[in-house]
Structures are given as structure tokens and as C-alpha cells.
């Protein structure tokens, strides 16, 4: 199948800084693709290049079969884009803002108003369509931004940090709305985020994007298998009393075939095993007279995958002598700059 978004060796440099480094990416029709990465990873820059809003230093971006650099108008006719901090004309009402956008997209004037109202109804702004956009809260603006995207009836939707600044209930609603729309209308969705859980909820495939490079892509299961398959399972057990140091059972249990490592800290034991042997460990501890308060088996979600990739690129950066303080701050800061 021909990919609807096709990026080939896409690079963008600002002076000596490479914001996007040799990016190759295919997104296919009808899928929801999540571009996941910390702040400053080059997600927005890549998206801008897909829309011809900035020129790549080298490489090509094809969207819907058009070259986004040479023929951005054709691309923009088919792609709906919601920027991370979408702005509206504050003196105009939500409906007026939307109608203006519809006119810019050459929508038929006679049905435009009804269509705008229908779209506002979908995104849940029907009640405030006659309010000025200037008084909208962040979440409402985000919804209006989605209405902007939907009114032009796009083939591809590109959402840059769509869940930023929406409350948890709103996020859930927003993501399920995107999912529904994608299923009903066969839309292709590309969404960027640094929020792992949001991406995990809706995306069919995920690309992990750090330091301008796409480190891995695929669905979450295959990503986690690829990364942690060799490490096996981790079982963490919390005991009722403090584990004495040195632990008498440690030498014995290290003899077990499956166990590769044992970590002890205070009242917590951590077993790293080749495969999951939690019941056996628990039984053994109970037999030896330990009171067990809590048993947990670590499962690898996007969090860990992300952390893993981030760590490796972080170390790489440290080795290259980059200022780690700035990098750290950029990562842990919630707001994007």
C-alpha cells in the first residue's frame, strides 16, 4: 500500500544544530500514528516540513502524493493541521472564526454556516458558538482547533500536542473523538505528543523521536518486545518486616536457573528473572516465614520504552559533552518552547 505520508531523508538544520536528522517515515491511510518524543526533539519541525510551512535542509516530504515543499497548497487542501498553540481572532465569535476558515478553504457558501454548526456540535462547542474566541479557555480553544481541522473535511489530520492543556476528562473525550472520527471517516491521523499515555490510548503505531532522530517505530507490543525481550520479567515484593542484611536466602535463590539478579532495599525485594516465576518466588518466601504485603510484576508500557530510549540518547548526549542541565530541564518541563 502506498503510504499517505512519506518522508525520505528529511533533515533540517538551524545553523549547526540539527533539529531533524535524516528522518524516514511512512504513515499509511487510515492509521493513527503517534509521534512521541521529549520537548525539542524536532516533532513540530517535522510537522511544519510536512505542510510546507518550513523548508527542509535536505530530503523530501510527500503528503497525499504531493511534494510539501514545492506544492504546499495542494497538500494543505487535503491536510488539516492543528498547531500546538492554536490562536483565534479574539474579537470574532467561535462560529465566525470557523466560517472564515471555511471560506478560505473555498467551501460552498450556502451550506457553510450549517456545516460549521455541525462541526461545532461534534467537538462539543455548540453551546458557546456565539461567544468571542478571546474568552475561550485553553481546552475550548483546543476543541475549536479540532473544529477548524474537521470543517475542511481533510484526508489527513496532523495534530501537534493536541492534549496539551486539557483536563484529564477532556483528554479522554478528545482522544476517543479522534479515534471515532478516524474509524468512521477513514481519516489518517498523525499526532505528536510527549504524553505517553495519551499516545498509548489511541495510536495504532508509534514512532519514538529523540534528538531529531526516529529511534524506533511500530506498535507498542513489538516495541516493547524489541526492547525488553532479552531482559525478561521483574517481580517486586514488599515484605512486612525489614529484610536483614546480608539476606540469608539470597545465595540460595541466586542458584535458581531463572533468576538473573536480586535487588534488596529496606523491605523491598526485586527479582529479575528470565521469565515470569512470580508464584514460585512468593510460595518460597511464604514457606520461609516472610509476611508479604505487596507483589507487583513489572509490565513494560510506553513509559518504560520511552524512558529506555530517552536514557540511551541522554547518555549519548552526555558523552558528547552537551549541557545536561538544559536538556534535563527541557525534558521535565511540561511546557513546550
Amino acid at each position: 500500500m502506498e503510504p499517505i505520508i512519506q518522508l525520505r531523508n528529511l533533515s533540517k538544520s538551524y545553523g549547526t544544530f540539527r533539529a531533524v536528522d535524516d528522518l524516514n517515515l511512512d504513515v499509511y491511510r487510515g492509521e493513527i500514528f503517534g509521534l512521541l518524543g521529549p520537548n525539542g526533539a524536532g516533532k513540530t519541525t517535522s510537522i511544519l516540513m510536512m505542510l510546507g510551512l518550513t523548508d527542509p535542509t535536505s530530503g523530501t516530504a510527500h503528503v497525499c502524493g504531493y511534494d510539501a515543499t514545492k506544492n504546499p497548497i495542494a497538500v494543505k487542501q487535503k491536510v488539516g493541521y492543528m498547531p500546538d498553540s492554536v490562536g483565534f481572532y479574539n474579537h470574532m465569535t467561535a462560529l465566525e472564526n470557523l466560517i472564515y476558515l471555511g471560506r478560505l478553504n473555498n467551501l460552498d457558501e450556502s451550506t457553510l454556516k450549517d456545516r460549521a454548526k455541525a462541526v461545532l456540535n461534534i467537538v462539543g462547542l455548540a453551546g458557546s458558538m456565539d461567544k468571542k474566541a478571546g474568552i475561550f479557555s485553553r481546552g475550548m480553544k483546543q476543541r475549536l482547533g479540532l473544529a477548524d481541522v474537521l470543517i475542511k473535511d481533510p484526508e489527513v489530520i496532523i495534530l501537534d500536542e493536541p492534549t496539551l492543556g486539557i483536563d484529564p476528562a477532556g483528554v479522554k473525550e478528545f482522544l476517543s473523538l479522534i479515534k471515532t472520527l478516524s474509524q468512521q471517516q477513514g481519516l489518517t491521523v498523525l499526532l505528536s505528543s510527549h504524553h505517553l499515555h495519551h499516545v498509548q490510548q489511541v495510536c495504532d503505531r508509534v514512532g519514538i523521536f529523540v534528538g531529531g532522530k526516529l529511534l524506533a517505530q511500530g506498535d507498542i507490543a513489538s516495541l516493547s518486545a524489541h526492547l525488553f525481550g532479552k531482559e525478561g520479567a521483574v517481580t517486586t515484593i514488599k515484605t512486612a518486616q525489614l529484610v536483614e542484611q546480608p539476606w540469608p536466602l539470597e545465595a540460595e535463590m541466586r542458584q535458581w536457573n531463572e533468576v538473573t539478579a536480586i535487588g534488596i532495599s529496606g523491605d523491598t525485594l526485586e527479582f529479575t528473572t528470565r521469565h515470569d516465576i512470580t508464584p514460585r518466588i512468593v510460595r518460597h518466601l511464604v514457606e520461609k516465614g516472610y509476611g508479604i504485603l505487596q507483589v507487583s510484576r513489572k509490565e513494560y508500557g510506553l513509559d518504560e520504552i520511552y524512558q529506555k530510549y530517552f536514557e540511551s540518547s541522554f547518555n549519548e548526549n552526555l558523552n558528547h559533552g552537551k549541557s545536561s542541565g538544559i536538556f534535563k530541564r527541557a525534558f521535565f518541563g511540561q511546557h513546550k518552547r
Partner: protein, 342 residues
């Protein structure tokens, strides 16, 4: 959320099957749409009301002065232009207040700068620029729409003021309006518009260069101040530094130097405007440079025909058109390939 699925399916069934609601896919219609919106924005803005107030005030004050003065100006037979009642309305004064066209040479830059200094950067700061340019519109259409909407508004304003003046004069005096007066006055309006256009495109250019509207406005005002106040001083200082003592020069050389000074002055757009406006409004002006005695010999102090006046100001007009186009071209160059990020 319950009825959401229903309504979205209603929308999608309508949209995926037939694309009838989509008009012809011609991006040029967008140009008209942007102009309409920009004009509406301008008219509803406080800034525009203030500017209209200023222009009206100028107009009423100078008209009052010239109307009270019109009898003496009209009957002053020493002045070859005295018969042009309507031109006199615009130019005569009792020396207490500068005439209308001089006042306008101050107001026009202000008008141009204030209509354009936040054209692009305020959109960018609001995040609306990304939103706008993610739509299928040409970038130059946006620039052109910003420019033409402001020019249309200023044009309408000046045109209605001038027509008001002519109509008022007709009612008050009953003097017949000569065709050449009408042409000259319309030419004057056109020249003023060109002058506004220069400052408008300059301020649009600055609004692309500077991220903060205040910086753009200030630098545009600074440039205007430089051209009106400091530039003539600098030209005089520099020329005087290497000008030989005029006592040792032949008359032709003195003329040559004078011509050179004037040419240097004409780099400033306000000089071009003043030249053009005075020539159009005072038909007896026959040259904008120095004239020798031989050229003056035998000349009767009488008004020139319209065509001749237009011939005299033609270089000035082209200079102003070139300056505005130049600014616009630089703006276009900077904007077309720039990264749009909010």
C-alpha cells in the same frame, strides 16, 4: 458524548459520499475573503476611529482657514493661480496654520504606519498566522491582502474627504469646477495614496522583520522622523563639507551643485511627495529644480496645463511607486520562505 457519535456520522455520511459543498478549488477566492475580513477588522478597530478623527480634524481646520481666506486669495491678481478656486481651497492659508497638503504630508505616513505595523507580527504572536497558512492560500495573497485592504480604506477616506470638500465649495461659493481642477485634485489624492502606500509597505516589511509590534511601529516612526527631520540636515552637512566656495564657481557649476543637492534630497519620500503635491495643486510651478536666466527669459507667469504639470511630477510618481514596490518586494522575499511557527 452520547449524541456525538450520531452527529459525527451524520456529518461524515454527507461529506464522504458527495463533495458538493466544496466550491471550485481555486485558491484565489481566498484573496477576496481575506480582504473582506481585514477591511472589517480595520473599520471596527479603535485605531481606525482615532485616525479618522485626526484626518477629519485636519480637514475641517484647514478648510475653515482657507474658506475664511478664500476671498483675498481669489482676488489676488498677482498670483497666477488665483482663478483656481478649488485648488486655492486646498492650498491657501492665513499663515497661522499650514495648508491641507502640508498637514497631510505629516498625517499620511502616520496613517500608513499605523495601518501596517502589526500586520504580520500580531498574527504570529496570536498564533493565527500558523492557522491561516495551514489553509490552502498563497502566502503572497496574505501580504497583498493586508496591503490592499489598508490602501482601500485610506483611499476611500481621502476620496470622500476630497469630494466632500469639492461639494462643500460648490454649495458655499457656487463657482463652477474646472475639469483640470478636478484632474489635479484627483491626482493629488492619488499621490497622497502613493505616499501612504510607501509607508504602509515599509511598516508591513518591518512587521515581518520584528516580532514585536511595538518595535516595528517605533522603527517605522524612526525612519519617518529620519527622512523628514534628519535627512535634510545630514545632506546639507555632508555637501557643505566638500562644496567649494561658491564665489569661485561658474554659474553652471553652482547650478550643478544645487541640482545634486536636490537629487540627494529626493531620496527621501517626503521630498518626492511635497514636490508632487505642490506641483499638482499650484499650476504655476513649472520646474522643481533651479532654472537659469535663459530658461526664465520670456516666460509669462501663468498656470501650466494639466498635462505639463503631470509631466513634471512623473519622475516623483515613479520614484514613490518604486520605493513602495521595493519595500513590498523585500517583504515578499522575507515572508515567502520563512518558517511559520507560533
Amino acid at each position: 458524548m452520547e449524541n456525538q457519535a450520531v452527529s459525527s456520522s451524520a456529518l461524515s455520511s454527507g461529506s464522504t459520499k458527495d463533495k458538493k459543498y466544496k466550491g471550485s478549488s481555486h485558491p484565489n477566492r481566498a484573496f477576496g475573503v481575506i480582504i473582506r475580513k481585514e477591511i472589517a477588522d480595520h473599520i471596527r478597530s479603535w485605531r481606525f476611529l482615532v485616525l479618522v478623527g485626526l484626518v477629519l480634524l485636519t480637514f475641517v481646520a484647514s478648510l475653515y482657514v482657507s474658506v475664511s481666506n478664500i476671498r483675498t486669495a481669489f482676488t489676488n491678481t498677482n498670483d497666477p493661480d488665483h482663478a483656481f478656486m478649488y485648488l486655492k481651497l486646498l492650498t491657501s492659508t492665513d499663515n497661522a496654520m499650514p495648508p491641507f497638503h502640508v498637514l497631510l504630508s505629516f498625517l499620511a505616513p502616520l496613517l500608513g504606519i499605523s495601518m501596517g505595523f502589526d500586520a504580520i507580527n500580531s498574527e504570529q504572536n496570536n498564533g493565527t498566522l500558523t492557522r491561516l497558512l495551514a489553509q490552502p492560500i498563497y502566502r503572497d495573497n496574505l501580504l497583498l491582502a493586508k496591503f490592499s485592504s489598508a490602501i482601500m480604506i485610506v483611499g476611500m477616506l481621502f476620496l470622500s474627504l476630497t469630494l466632500l470638500m469639492i461639494g462643500g465649495g460648490l454649495v458655499l461659493t457656487g463657482v463652477r469646477l474646472e475639469a483640470q481642477e478636478l484632474i489635479r485634485i484627483m491626482g493629488f489624492v492619488f499621490v497622497t495614496l502613493l505616499y501612504v502606500a510607501f509607508y504602509l509597505s515599509l511598516s508591513i516589511l518591518l512587521s515581518i522583520v520584528f516580532r514585536q509590534p511595538a518595535t516595528a511601529a517605533l522603527s517605522a516612526l524612526g525612519l519617518w522622523l529620519f527622512f523628514t527631520v534628519f535627512y535634510p540636515i545630514i545632506v546639507n552637512l555632508v555637501i557643505r563639507a566638500f562644496l567649494p566656495d561658491p564665489a569661485y564657481l561658474t554659474q553652471a557649476q553652482v547650478m550643478g551643485y544645487n541640482e545634486f543637492i536636490l537629487d540627494m534630497m529626493r531620496i527621501a519620500p517626503n521630498q518626492l511627495y511635497t514636490d508632487a503635491a505642490t506641483t499638482l495643486l499650484m499650476p504655476s510651478i513649472r520646474s522643481l529644480g533651479p532654472m537659469s536666466m535663459e530658461q526664465m527669459a520670456g516666460a509669462i507667469p501663468s498656470p501650466l496645463p494639466v498635462k505639463e504639470s503631470l509631466m513634471i511630477v512623473w519622475p516623483q510618481l515613479s520614484g514613490m511607486i518604486a520605493a513602495s514596490t521595493g519595500c513590498f518586494a523585500i517583504a515578499y522575499y522575507l515572508f515567502m520562505r520563512r518558517e511559520i511557527r507560533s
